[in-house]
Amino acid sequence: MAAPASTQTVDLVARFPDSVSADARPGYTGFIVKKENLLEVATAIRDEFGYDLLTAVTGVDYIAENKMEVVYHAYKTTGGAGLTFKVQVDRVDPVEVPSVVGIWAGADFQEREAWDLLGIKFTGHPDLRRILMWEGYEGHPLRKDWKEPFFEEEAKPFKSRWPDGQHTFAENKNPFRDNLKFPEGFDPEAYQPENEDDLYASLERFRSKGENDRLKTDHIVVNMGPHHPSTHGVLRVAVTLDGETITGLKPVMGYLHRNHDKIGERNTYLQIIPYTDRLDYFNSMSNNFGYVTTIEKLMKIPVAERAEYIRVIMAELSRIQNHLIFIGMLMNDLGTMYTPSLYAFEERELVLDIFEAVSGARMMCNYFRFGGVVRDIPDFAMQKIKDLVFDRLPAKTDEMERFLNENEVLVARLKGIHVLNAEDAIKYSVTGPVLRAAGVPYDLRRAEPYSVYDRFDFDVAVRHNADMMDNYLIRFDEIRQSLRILEQAIKQIPEGPINSQKPAYQVRVPAGEAYGRIESPKGELGFYVVSNGKPNPYRYHVRPASFVNLQAVESMCIGAKIADFVALLAMFDIVMGELDR
């Protein structure tokens, strides 16, 4: 079994007796660091204790205690349990915390997100703009005193639904009450959309000054997206170009933002499960997996043995179809319209048939429950899984390789185009296949095994050239390893109940916090949940792989050609449902 996350291998208090204290609140773990000493302690955590990968940064608004807390989760790329440390500040605007971007560059987007949604100002952050909401937006939505338009009640279930539930349309309720805020002096008649000087100014710092150029040319700003077929959704990228070379680049996101965190905080624990399906909609099984693992950690309940194997089978099938689609879509991005991606879609369809037979839906599976899964795999579906795993998928993976891998055009486009080296990947908190293709064998299924992954014999796929070709080939390696896990899981799966708990539409979650993470096909998918013992989570935060990985895209593309940009972006395998949340 996975080592409990509470195992703190480091004694920070002994090292910094004056500035660090252990977090003694019941159900909480980690250390509380004084704000003044944060940078000093953080540097020591990275350099002396070796926690080189900062995976999650988020804030919590403890309104009753009049405190804001910033929570950091740092891990070692050599594996093992993580280190949680926190900074507490008074909840008086401006709430200011020193930025750790100088220590872990991977804190960049997540600090911007915490500023955007919680209003925590990170002093010393190089580019502290809003990230999911737009510049000029009033208020910070994740604060506990912020209410959304059409606000009904603090928490579900709403009282208007039963016992006297007369149907009303949400828009018939007046949204323009105390829950809609405008900036001071705002006049709707005179409203002009914000100019984006800040965005373009942030591009400036990467502009070459033209000193070494043979030919002095103007730099052009190109806005790709949000409606660009190759950005995998509504992602917009502002690029400055010097000829064909990218000299500056900023991703602009939030077009699909729906504040998943806030929705989660209004929901009960059970109600969040179907919403997690909609994060990374290619891998709803993995999303379910990450979320229920976190809540099970918080509830301290066991998982039924058979259900553990079912979960692994579903998660690995999901990984296989995700990687096949990645390969197909990468070909689309490179200009091979449709044929490879449709070949990939055939296998995906067959996997989705299984999901449908098991869970009832092809994409929005909603299949996992606390302590197990909804229902057992029907016999005919089990037969289908066996057919795919032992028979069809290995052959089709080979066929895909035969189809593409030696294609000279493909090789010319992919080979030698640098993506990310190991050092930069770790610096920017990149996880998943991109990190492994840079030669870092960091896979959570091995680094900190969860569920029953420690019982299977498999290799962590790793490649060393860190170019696009390796990033592409590693997906085939991972498909093969997933098939290996699946073969073992199907052979080992025990009989027995599929849930350790009685079915209950409301669960009791003791007060405390938990950070759960799994290896989703795109990288580390983390959930940070704070419970105060009520039916709804007090704080619910998702750390999606796509969002955090995208931090590296800026430094990765500077100096690359614009023609390669779309393919470089495809390497992260981003999904907007997860990126914008």
Binding site: W162, P163, D353, A361, N366, K384, E406
Partner: protein, 207 residues
């Protein structure tokens, strides 16, 4: 040789192209229909599928597994003279568990005593908000609300279903989910038998 990889790749496409026709011919020789038949569709979505893979919706439709779920409906048992015995007792669990909160239930009160009666006066589901998660069906203790198989509900109006529109007979439910229905019926019968046995035991113990 430059171009060898491309040719190798094209051989895969070439094979896939011909697979469609060899399959067609082999089905023809065996005297079976590959298109517009259940058998043909089932084969096209099995591990042995080769060549053409697409299912020509709406003429052909994928075979729905029993667990397939779309929007919910309410089950009623057919009583004597076509009387609709609604299974729902308006306990409100489905309305409470619903993640997007799209279920509205009006509970019936006895006009003389003011006490609740276990039958809904009205029941609304806003199908435009429903996310088809299936929680209502999963947690209903009376097997009264179930997920449907009928997904063609596109319309020009907004889809707010009331009690009348939500009700479907138990026979319909049995036809779309035979295994589930059989299992649930058996569990319910066992429960009732247990209840009856208890009721019988009570006067016996008193005597």
């Amino acid at each position: 040789m430059y171009g060898k990889g491309i040719l190798k790749g094209l051989s895969v496409t070439w094979k896939r192209f011909w697979d469609t026709y060899t399959e067609d011919i082999s089905w023809m020789v065996r005297g079976k229909k590959r298109y517009n038949t259940q058998e043909g569709i089932a084969h096209r979505s099995s591990k042995d599928t080769k060549g053409i893979f697409t299912v020509q919706y709406p003429e052909e439709q994928l075979i729905q597994p029993e667990e397939f779920r779309y929007v919910p409906f309410l089950v009623y048992d057919e009583g004597e003279e076509g009387k609709k015995e609604i299974r729902c007792t308006s306990c409100g669990i489905c309305a409470k568990v619903c993640p997007p909160q799209c279920i509205w239930i009006v509970r019936t009160n006895d006009p003389s005593t003011g006490r609740p009666v276990p039958v809904p006066t009205n029941f609304y589901i806003d199908m435009d908000i429903c996310m088809n998660c299936g929680f209502c069906a999963e947690y209903c203790p009376f097997d009264a609300i179930k997920m449907d198989h009928d997904f063609d509900i596109a319309s020009y109006e907004r889809n707010v279903y009331n009690l009348e529109k939500l009700l479907k007979p138990a026979s319909y439910y049995n036809s779309i989910r035979p295994e589930n229905a059989a299992r649930e019926d058996e569990a319910r019968r066992a429960k009732e038998a247990l209840k009856a046995a208890k009721a019988e035991a009570k006067p016996a113990a008193a005597a």
